[in-house]
Amino acid sequence: MSDKTLTQPGGIDYRRRQRLARLAQTLVILAGAIVLTIYVLAPVTWLVSSSFQTEAEIVSVPPHWIPDEPTLQNFEAIFSATEEEEITYETRSGQDPASGGFIPSTAKNLLPAMWNSFLVATLVVILNLLVGVPAAYALAKIRFWGRDASVYFILITRVIPDIALVVPFFLVIKNLGMLDTIGSLVLTYLAVTVPFSVFILVQYFEGLPDELDKAARVDGCSRFQALVRVFLPLSLPSLVAVVLFTFLTSWNEFLLALMFTQTEASQTLPIVLAAFTSDFTISFSFINAAGVLAIVPPVIVAVIFERYIVSGLTAGAVKG
């Protein structure tokens, strides 16, 4: 700063202008940050806030932005819903039924659906790793005849829209007698996750030096050993990214699950949630609580693993 004023003829003036410019910049950044925070968080906050309101409070006009008397009854209703004891609006509270809303009998499906979602996501993750890691290593480090063709092939499968797969999937799954099974979801989710995983991993493996691969092989590793003994231990960040993406994609997937699931045997969380929203008799506060439950796990995962997600997103999306 000081030597700038020396070289600047109107020193004082220049310095003042500089300071003003900096102040303006700070203000713009501050305003931007505030607007962005509100834009992102306001809708979610509203959802969370209304999940803690009672049925009576949630229907007030204008709405209560902050619950007057926060309550956990919506969540309790979800966690205590069981086959034996069907919780309805009547059994839950003595409020005026005219204010609308009751706990649907399907509430008991919510926790099993979460379990189904978890199971499907976990299986899809495992299969992605088993299939994706060797493929990515081959594409990144082996110069073989047909490599470019393979890359293009996987890129193309990456852009097939899921909705274009629905009809053929449905008929195949039906003929295999796999409708309403978790297996049908695991299988079809591979179509929407594997290409992405492969490209996250290819990108990462390409970033590791070729000479490392050569050193391993001269040291006596077969291709397989070079992958397992040298590359796998070094690729943890990309493996984490793959696990996260695959898990979240499966956890959040809706369209395919809508086609192939019918009962609680295979229904995943998004399906049960979607069913609530189309039922006009269900209490809003209850739906919101269910929505919050669906949001919490992925958001926690995203916040904890932010670093891996950002790098993975860039690798996978840019490459495919």
Binding site: R143, W145, P209, E211, L212, K214, A215, A216, R217, V218, D219, G220, C221, S222, R223, Q225, R229, V230, P233, L234
Partner: protein, 366 residues
């Protein structure tokens, strides 16, 4: 114990790049062979083919009497040191060195003995528990050497192992590598673009350009008797000077090189080789150090010109010298001081002249 033979070996890449053309080379057991050339000349590809890291496109690659064209690297008994060292970042120094032996299922106590032995020799015994990221460049280099050494391979390959080191370290490592070769009694193949490294280390040097071998020979051969202008130019600092001119043959044992005022009398041995070259356009090569400013050169050995530039380099100085519009560089002593524009006369060592065909660049005298 390995003798490596290339028989008409070709390397073409899928993109059409022809990296190595019709390579014929016989590397003797326990020889220290250096592959020398500018980047892209095919020297690293050649090394990688020996290692098995690149497949041979055509021709035969033999280890002793065994065809190894299709043998993957882990089944060849070779060890390699890389320019970037390529140490395994997740392993300790100990495990880095031991890895090759572990992969070959050597007994545990044998591995331990050899690793500690090598570490002792390379003076890195105190670093065995560290990770590569905690080491300096020179230490990493030693670990990389150690990793190759413990394997006691039949062929020891090095791909520009010293180019990431600073100048002083590079010189001392040269000496150590030479000692290592003596101690290990095995075949070394060493790739570099550094002529000084090649001249110090090699038993034989292979000079390559655009995938074609230009000359194979001892460092002396290569430096003193270059087969063509490429080899002559590639070695020597400052590079060799060229003067285009004509040969005038008087009789079977006397001949002159003539260019304008300059007339150099060739030695009898040279003249005999050029006996049927009367009037031929040639390119004369004079190495920068093959002149003497103080000696009283007789007629037929003096080259004159105006000083264009003076570059002192410590031990002596380089004289930039204008000769018919071309800039020649000579290395002269520091005893005489020169100013720009001075006229100088240098006496040329006539025994060390190089004569090349002007068009093909091939030597006419060696």
């Amino acid at each position: 114990m390995a003798r490596i033979r290339f028989e008409n070996v070709e390397k073409k890449y899928a993109n059409g790049f022809h990296a190595v053309k019709d390579l014929n080379l016989d590397i003797q057991d326990k020889e220290f062979l250096v592959l020398l050339g500018p980047s892209g000349c095919g020297k690293s590809t050649t090394l990688n083919m020996i290692a098995g890291l690149e497949e041979v496109s055509d021709g035969r690659l033999m280890f002793d009497d065994m065809l190894v064209n299709y043998t993957p690297p882990h089944k060849r008994d070779v060890a390699m040191v890389f320019q970037s060292y390529a140490l395994y970042p997740h392993k300790t120094v100990y495990d880095n060195i031991a890895f090759g032996l572990q992969m070959r299922k050597a007994p545990r106590d044998e591995i331990d003995r050899r690793v500690r032995d090598a570490a002792q020799k390379l003076e890195i015994a105190h670093l065995l528990d560290r990770r590569p990221s905690q080491l300096s460049g020179g230490q990493r280099q030693r670990v990389a050497l150690g990793r190759a050494m413990v394997r006691e391979p039949s062929v020891f390959l090095m791909d520009e192992p010293l180019s990431n080191l600073d100048a002083a370290l590079r010189i001392s490592m040269r000496a150590e590598i030479k000692e290592l070769h003596q101690a290990m009694q095995t075949t070394f193949v060493y790739v570099t673009h550094d002529q000084a490294e090649a001249l110090t280390l090699a038993d034989r040097i292979v000079v390559m350009r655009d995938g074609v071998v230009q000359q194979v020979g001892s460092p002396d051969d290569i430096y003193e008797r270059p087969q063509n202008t490429f080899v002559a130019s590639f070695l020597g600092n400052p590079p060799i000077n060229y003067i285009d001119g004509t040969i005038e043959v008087t009789d079977s044992s006397t001949a002159r090189f003539v260019r304008g005022d300059l007339a150099l009398t060739l030695t009898e041995a040279t003249a005999r080789k050029l006996a049927d070259c009367n009037g031929r356009e040639v390119r004369l090569g004079i190495r920068a150090e093959d002149v003497d400013e103080t000696a009283q050169g007789g007629e037929g050995s003096v080259i004159r010109g105006k000083v264009n530039s003076v570059l002192p380099v410590g031990s002596d100085q380089f004289l930039g010298f204008d000769f018919y519009g071309e800039e020649l560089f000579f290395r002269v002593g520091k005893d005489l001081s020169h100013r720009l524009g001075d006229d100088v006369a240098l006496s040329v060592d006539l025994n060390r002249l190089h004569v090349f065909d002007k068009d093909s660049g091939k030597t006419l005298i060696w």
